[in-house]
Amino acid sequence: MSNSTMTPPAGVVTTGASPAGSAPAGGRPGRRRRGERNRPLWMLLPGGILMLLIIVVPLVVAVLMSTLDLDQYTLQSWLQAPFIGLGNYVEAITASPLLRSIGISVSFAVIAAVVTMPIGLAAALATQNRFRGRALVRSLFLIPYVLPAFVVGTLWRTMLQPGGVVDSMLGAVGIHSGLWLNGPLSYWSLIIVQIWTSWPFFYLLVLAGLQSVDHEVHEAAAIDGATWWIKLRYVVLPYLRGPILLALIIAFLHNINAFTLPFVLFGVPAPQDVEVLPVVTYMTSFQSFRFGLSAAMAICSLILIAIPLFVYLRAVKLDSGEEEQR
């Protein structure tokens, strides 16, 4: 950033210094203050205004909406909708499926994220070394990830429906699993399909992480006679800690925000075992027309998402200003 953050050689300080800078003790702070003053901060304005319009204004409107009794009857002049303070939040927590759906969403998101980790890792390791057809395998791996969620949903819905492909395949080996798209199993169907469609994301991030492992390290491990497990455990994995943690958090956020997949897979009204947070919020807004209540739900889920997001920001050190200190 600006030169005040660096530790310039003494010569530079004197040459660049104004009369004030010649004071030996107060020189640095003085420079910093002036340096800040000279920063062309106004140049941040276009970006700032965009951020304001895209993030801050909708957020403020959402918070405002969540305090109003806003529904189909008051929509036309929504600012005149009755102000009910935290009423929507109280209703969301006490008289709506919100808490249950938070439980479902969080557990689903965690399970799906954790399970995709070893799959993605194994796939990345398997395709790291050159072999014939590696490019093809790598592209095939990406197919589930690049398919649009509604295609994945439709595909699996067809396969999982009663008397569908999955039932007849399992039936052929003597397993009669019961319903996949409703009842207790539907929760696991959602997890399975989400894993199927999202593991390549892990694979991609781990693959990128693997590129950062120095070639010399591999060679050194080989010379030391390390077995593949030792090499993986003590040489490669420490390099991948960052990417894996990052992938875990992003995958969790993706999963918790997944709307299209459960919506297409189970339809609405959703079976109670798969009433995930985004679907409940959607239903409240666009089927029951309780816009205020759904805004309160959305704020609740925003807070929920903000927690791992905060962890994520700490993890990648975007918010700590550490870069500046370096």
Binding site: Q72, Q161, G267
Partner: protein, 453 residues
Amino acid sequence: MRSRFALAAVAGIAAAGLVLTGCSGTSGGTSTASSGKIDGTGKTLDVMIAANSLYPTQQQQWFKDVSAQFQKETGATVKFETFASANDELTKIQTSVLSGQGPDIYDLGTTFTPTAYSTGAFVKLSDADWAKVGGRDRFVPATLGISGPDKSNEVGIPFLSRPFVLAYNKDLLKAAGIDKPADTWDGLAEQAKKLTSGDVHGMAVAYADSFDPWKFVWAMAMQQGNTILDVKSKKATIDDAAVKKAYETYFGWLTDDKVVDPAAIGWKNAQAVAAFASGKAAFLPMVSSSSQVSLDKSPVAGKYAYAVMPTVPPGATKLPSDGKAAATIISGDNMVVAKYSKNQDLAFALVKMLTSTDNQVKYTKTFGDLPTNADAAKQIEQGNDLIAPILEAGTKAYGTPFTGAWGDTQLALVNVVVQSIPGLSAGKVSSSDLEAKLKAAQETAQNSLNKAK
């Protein structure tokens, strides 16, 4: 620090600006009251209508034809916008209602009309307004049943009718010695039992559909005298023996009578139609005239006919005195004119043109949806045996309760079925289980009704 204040100030101004825009937007919308012949030269009317997935090219042609005809009559052109789903439409209505600008005319599904009405964004038709669309009496009376809460507060002008009927496989019935479908639900179930053998089932029912289930339950409850919602006394009546009986009958086809393919617990409407189309089901209740398109291309082409669904409730041999012989919901499309429209008279002139006898007959011949214009309906009926029962069902149609709470109620009724699917799959939905679910639905509907204005 100072710059942060500056940013905050900009934020405040921008937010205030947006909010103020929102305010001023809603106050727009004046009517251009004029008398005599409408001159719309140079103007363009904006119409929002559902995309027709069955006849996309014909619909595009229809748009052009309508615009050309309207230009000839008034000098104004018509621009059509289409929406793919009810949600698309709702989003559009929301933005238009908030901003006070958007389409002049919306084509709405009938069951969505109460919700649209409750936003207060559409013109309530005065006698003069009705005159502008050619008079209230040009329409089939039953189609007006869901235009508004009462005669003096109507917003919807019936544009097309899509009543629900029962399709049946003539060959299968003949083979079983049945000459026509029964007019009681019990009789129909008995016939269905006779018609079930091997992989052919008596009935095709879409238990996993998002809409079908509530239409069955509503009809059977109506026939027992239960309107699901009593709008006047603001009471929901789902937690009631009549509604329970309706669900038991609907579930019983699968669990007790065993006249439905067990896979039907995963079926949407299209899959039930497909089962009937492949000759695997004798009865296909709850279909509209648009099913003709797929049935005429299927193995049952020429072998099927339509009939009015039973109007005698389950467990009865004749309609109870307080029962209503509801054969179908009033189904189809209504047109509404936006309050904010600056071309309201022109909009009424367009609706008048679209609901004229000639145009309605032409529309039916192209798209299969039935006319709401009484003369047109008569013309279509003549010499058309296939369509006649559907038109008859249309005259026996009842509107769903006219309240903004209906959307929620409808959803709650379907939710009872959705949450009962595991029970259905296991072969039985217990009485106590059903009662608990009805209680939950009752609560949802009552809460929604309490909020209704």
